[in-house]
């Protein structure tokens, strides 16, 4: 019994080494933001990252079951009106399996930016999201400049700083 179990452990450990390679994919500042076109939440149209090339983009991955994600949304919405819309764009990617729950949250907390729907999680896989929520600040050339993991009240201050820096850099 012992010999068989040892072989089983060895196999599993080997497999796990290969699988751990997956998490090394997390994109960081300096990496190009993968382009995407995803259906909009609620089914009306598509949300395309490339459409906003030339603007500073704030990309937020969220879901209705994730408490810090929900804390972030009203704060992000507040930021939206503070920066000129021809220079700054917010896009969200919602990862709920059931759109209904995400839509219900948004109906009580309306936002003025588009949200894509990605229930299969292809986009967070491409971006290497390892925490919920994670947001990416992307510069006008489409390169990630800042990754913000998690969200606490008061994180807005740090985000505004980073956004201002990127808006300035573009001039």
């Amino acid at each position: 019994m012992t010999a068989f179990s040892l072989r089983r452990i060895a196999t599993r450990v080997t497999i796990s080494f290969f699988l751990t390679a997956q998490i090394a994919l997390a994109l960081e500042a300096g990496d190009r933001a993968p382009a995407f076109a995803a259906p909009a939440l609620g089914g009306k149209g598509t949300v395309e990252l490339s459409k906003y090339r030339g603007k500073v983009v704030y990309l937020d991955f969220w879901a209705s079951w994730c408490a810090p994600c929900l804390v972030a949304i009203p704060e992000i919405e507040k930021m939206r009106s503070e920066f000129p819309s021809e220079d700054f764009q917010i896009i969200a990617v919602n990862l709920d399996q059931k759109e209904k729950k995400a839509l219900r949250f948004l109906s009580k907390n309306p936002v003025g930016y588009p949200s894509a729907s990605d229930p299969k999680g292809r986009l967070p896989g491409q971006y290497g999201v390892d925490t919920m929520p994670t947001s990416y600040l992307i510069d006008r050339e489409g390169v990630i400049r800042y990754v913000h993991r998690g969200f606490q009240r008061g994180d807005g201050a740090k985000l505004r700083e980073e956004i201002r820096a990127l808006l300035e850099a573009g001039r």
Binding site: M1, R12, S16, A63, W65, P124
Partner: protein, 72 residues
């Protein structure tokens, strides 16, 4: 009995170290449910543990983390 315990222990370590079932941070909607917590109602758990502790000979087991929504 002893062999069974050792077997279960090895299986557990093997299973856990395998990482072959890896739920991604955005796939944890069900795990984030209140009714999927180890103890959804903390006050109830403490109260019950105290009652059984007072009326029976045994010691309660502890509580740990893990599961949940994986936020942050």
């Amino acid at each position: 009995m002893r062999r069974l315990c050792v077997g279960v222990l090895i299986l557990t370590i093997g299973f856990v170290s395998s990482g072959c079932v890896r739920v991604k941070p955005w796939e944890r909607d069900l795990l984030a449910r209140r009714d999927m917590a180890w103890e959804p109602d903390g006050l109830e758990a403490k109260r019950e543990a105290h009652i059984y502790f007072s009326k029976e000979a045994s010691m309660p087991g502890g509580s740990g983390g893990g599961g949940g929504c994986g936020c942050n």
